[in-house]
Subunit: 137 residues, 2 copies
DNA sequence: TACACCTGTAACTATAATGGTTACAACGGG
DNA sequence: CCCGTTGTAACCATTATAGTTACAGGTGTA
């Protein structure tokens, strides 16, 4: 099971997209909705900020999306958080003296790449706006 | 990143499928190819055995596949290991007093289900035989 | 200015997952 | 009986994850 950061990121971005009053949109308010600690929220927001998804100003409440919800794909969010990371880990240093061990890593990379491509298609097909629509806000 | 158990399982099953001489197919031999501990191998094999993918006899070297490589999909292997588990974790207890918090879990489930379905298609389209072919054994 | 409130970030902690290891009971074949 | 093997419990080390405390520094307002 992959960690819950992707879920939290989508939650945070949904709040930012739907809260017009910047003054109430503090890390404390967001943490109350997500049910976590404000620092966890600010940490996550720092990552999303580095990825260019939103902006904020130190000392000033409120966050602003830099990408329209309809243009913000779930893939962009996912990659902002987890980078270009592989989905499945491959055990390292299988025995090169063995016919299977020698080629298993390369083979698995191919398998996982095809799975990853399928995931990418799905994540790219859905935007933050789609999520907002399903939240019916 | 998901753990390396799926990779190790495919490696183990590839060895079993391609090693005709049962007497050398010990957990120690397999561990030497995977580069891990024999107990880790036996533990994993116990899981695959419970799932009905292979058979073994206590005290006797060797394992036997119960499904033909061409009929053994990577999905079956994946599910034997990780069960019907969700791919992405969803943070628990978002605030029900918040419009987003109230519906985010259900919405994310839908999103993740569509991603999972895409993965399933890929995993189902590839069999152990395909892996063996790529290993060129 | 003084103050209240906020962000950004470092540092520490608790918990859980992962994989490696030791140990040993039970089994099978020579 | 003896040796090598499987099956499994128990324990340990490492790492990931998320929560927490603490505090420096920015911002607007009385």
């Amino acid at each position: 099971m992959v960690n819950s950061r992707f879920s939290v990121a989508i939650h945070i971005l949904s709040l930012i997209a739907t809260t017009s009053d910047r003054s109430i949109l503090t890390s404390d308010f967001i943490a109350g909705s997500v049910n976590t600690n404000p620092v966890v929220v600010r940490r996550m927001i720092g990552v999303l900020k580095k990825a260019g998804l939103l902006s904020s100003q130190s000392g000033l409440a409120g966050y602003e999306l830099l990408v329209e919800p309809k243009d913000l794909t779930l893939l962009a969010i996912y990659q902002a958080i987890d980078g270009p990371e592989q989905l499945f880990a491959i055990h390292d240093q299988p025995n090169p003296a063995c016919a299977v061990g020698r080629k298993i890593q390369h083979t698995l990379e191919g398998v996982y790449t095809s799975v990853w491509h399928a995931m990418v298609e799905q994540l790219q097909a859905q935007t933050l706006q789609d999520v907002l629509d399903q939240l019916r806000i």
